[in-house]
Symmetry: C2
Subunit: 365 residues, 2 copies
């Protein structure tokens, strides 16, 4: 612990999106990660303030921005942006109470953080290969950014990256099983880029059951009807619909392998680490962050074709599920994520001009 922050830790603000509560009741990858990070920071003795919806649940000090997760408001909420702009203003007005402000809301705070001189850092949670955001990031190129994988940075290598922090999960969230399961698992959305069709094809070629825990968004309904629905008739295929967080341990820990044969530059892939937490190996195409998360031949197999995917299924019994879980604990726990972030917070704080007036900057490193 740095001498300046002593036993009481750092004063940290976490700024979450408002579409979901923290943690989310429905799907919300960013809000889940913010929750894991916030609770672990509190557990490690930091003084944490969370800017989020009022229906969030946290041991940190909650600054409620709006009553409920905006996604729950349905048609009643017409302007989510207004709440986010107001939240940034709330943060700015309280900023001198924090050693560091950690934003998880893309770029909306950049105009204010450029003009106010509080220490801040921004984790970008989404894909960056969207041409129309690039000019904005070029404009604000002094902003300290954190990537959630090295691969995510590719379209914006020139940005002011101060670190990559892989997501982490609480260690007790999922329990691992040591024996190999009896079915292949698919979890996520049924959308073209997630390629549930490939997962089903592999199951058919090896003659192993596959269980599909997935939601079908309204935008993907036509794709499902035209391309996927008929595949569900195979007796090897069991479609479970969307499952909740509490059902995931059961679903994943009893699986033989998680199928992740996506056509998509995954920025991180939280589900890969959920499988690992359950001891379940992953068979994946090496898209985006995947090679950073899965160790080929240890926690799963990276494959470049359907033939290799089929062969990988046959190799799974050679993997040690206890080792998969162990790698999860070492590399993808909330504890490790928290440690990484605190290291970056201290580095930014140390190089921030407003750091401890009167103290030489070098003593704070």
């Amino acid at each position: 612990m740095n001498k300046y922050w002593g036993v009481s830790g750092m004063r940290i603000a976490q700024v979450a999106p408002l579409y979901e509560s923290v943690p989310p009741r429905l799907y919300g990858g960013t809000e889940r990660v913010v929750s894991y990070l916030t609770e672990e920071l509190v557990r490690q003795g930091h003084s944490v303030t969370l800017f989020a919806t009022a229906d969030s649940v946290t041991r940190a000090e909650l600054r409620p921005v709006c009553e409920r997760a905006l996604r729950l408001e349905g048609r009643r909420i017409l302007d989510p942006l207004a709440h986010h702009v107001r939240m940034v203003e709330m943060v700015a007005q309280e900023a001198d109470r924090f050693d560091i402000v950690h934003f998880h809301i893309d770029y909306l705070h950049f105009p204010i953080t450029r003009r106010e001189h509080f220490a801040s850092v921004t984790t970008l949670h989404g894909r960056l290969d969207i041409p129309d955001v690039t000019p904005l990031f070029r404009e604000y190129k002094e902003m300290s950014l954190i990537s959630i994988s090295d691969a995510q940075r590719a379209p914006m290598e020139w940005a002011n990256w101060v670190g990559t922090v892989h997501h982490g999960l609480p260690e007790n969230l999922y329990a691992a099983k040591e024996e190999h399961g009896k079915y292949l698992a698919f979890i996520g959305r049924i959308s073209p880029e997630k390629r549930v069709d490939r997962a089903i094809e592999v199951a058919q070629r090896v003659g192993m059951p596959i269980k599909i825990a997935a939601k079908i968004d309204a935008t993907d309904r036509a794709y499902y009807e035209a391309n996927i629905r008929h595949l569900m008739d195979d007796p090897l295929v069991e479609y479970l619909g969307e499952i909740g967080e509490h059902e995931k341990t059961e679903f994943l820990s009893n699986a033989y392998a998680l199928m992740f044969l996506v056509d998509w530059q995954e920025p991180f892939g939280l589900v890969l680490t959920e499988a690992m937490a359950c001891g379940t190996p992953v068979i994946a195409y090496p898209m985006g962050s995947v090679p950073e998360v899965i160790d080929h031949g240890v926690s799963g197999y990276l494959v470049d074709s359907m033939e290799e995917a089929v062969e990988a299924v046959r190799q799974i019994p050679g993997l040690d599920r206890r080792l998969v879980r162990k790698i999860f604990e070492e590399r993808f726990s909330a504890r490790r994520m928290c440690r990484d972030y605190v290291t970056i917070y201290k580095k930014i704080r140390a190089s921030s001009p407003s750091f401890l007036p009167g103290e030489p900057l070098s003593s704070a490193a």
Copy 2:
């Protein structure tokens, strides 16, 4: 002309939304008004800079923010917000070149205008009875706002309103006819709140043809099929689809009256002034801004029931279409709109702390 701005006029920035070009190729009420104002300011000798899409057409100096109207990009543009945030930053960095910056992009610039001390004013172009924007406007209650009708202010009477400026149209844009036409006219979208069904019912009750120039948005398609389509079968009803700007004079000037029997708090209602420019009276429910625009018994009739609407149709021949046009020229021309805005610009500039260093504020009023 104020002595400080002399013959070369004021240095004015207009900041337009980027969804459409200025003027818009497709529908875009705000972008149209920004275009009319900008061109008239130039004509009146001011030095105007327009922040807008690169495919905008103007005699002002154009600061292109993105290549094309974002609405034309279809699915390719995933993040319109990023372009708008960047535009505000561009404006801020050039702000010391302008006497006043006039924003037409709702509230997105508030965090920056609060922190930079350039003179600015914001016209709010939309409805304000949206509960989730109210807390934001309360937070930024120092912002100088202009309403497009007095009625528009109702949900936010407490805001810092510096004026109401009704929209205005170039005087030569539409030509008036002196003789009364032979059909009722409906123009706009076919959506539940626009109540084309009421317009058709009035036509049926008086036995007069009605021509409908309207688009059907994807979101309104089901409403159209269930509630409106069968009404179109009446031989009195002629559906023209969507018509372009250049067809409007012909359509409106040959009409007997414009039917505006809406269920909607209209913030302004540009089409009311288009009808007046063509000499065509309006029969309207007195919703929102309507009573501010239509003079009952002069430029049309304000009615409170279908019976009154039917009766109003019978009264139309008693109105003088030359007078309708004359009222348009006096109250709803771009020239008048421009004059109103310049008066406000000067007032704001005069009370702005950065105004003419060394000159006493009072001399600039």
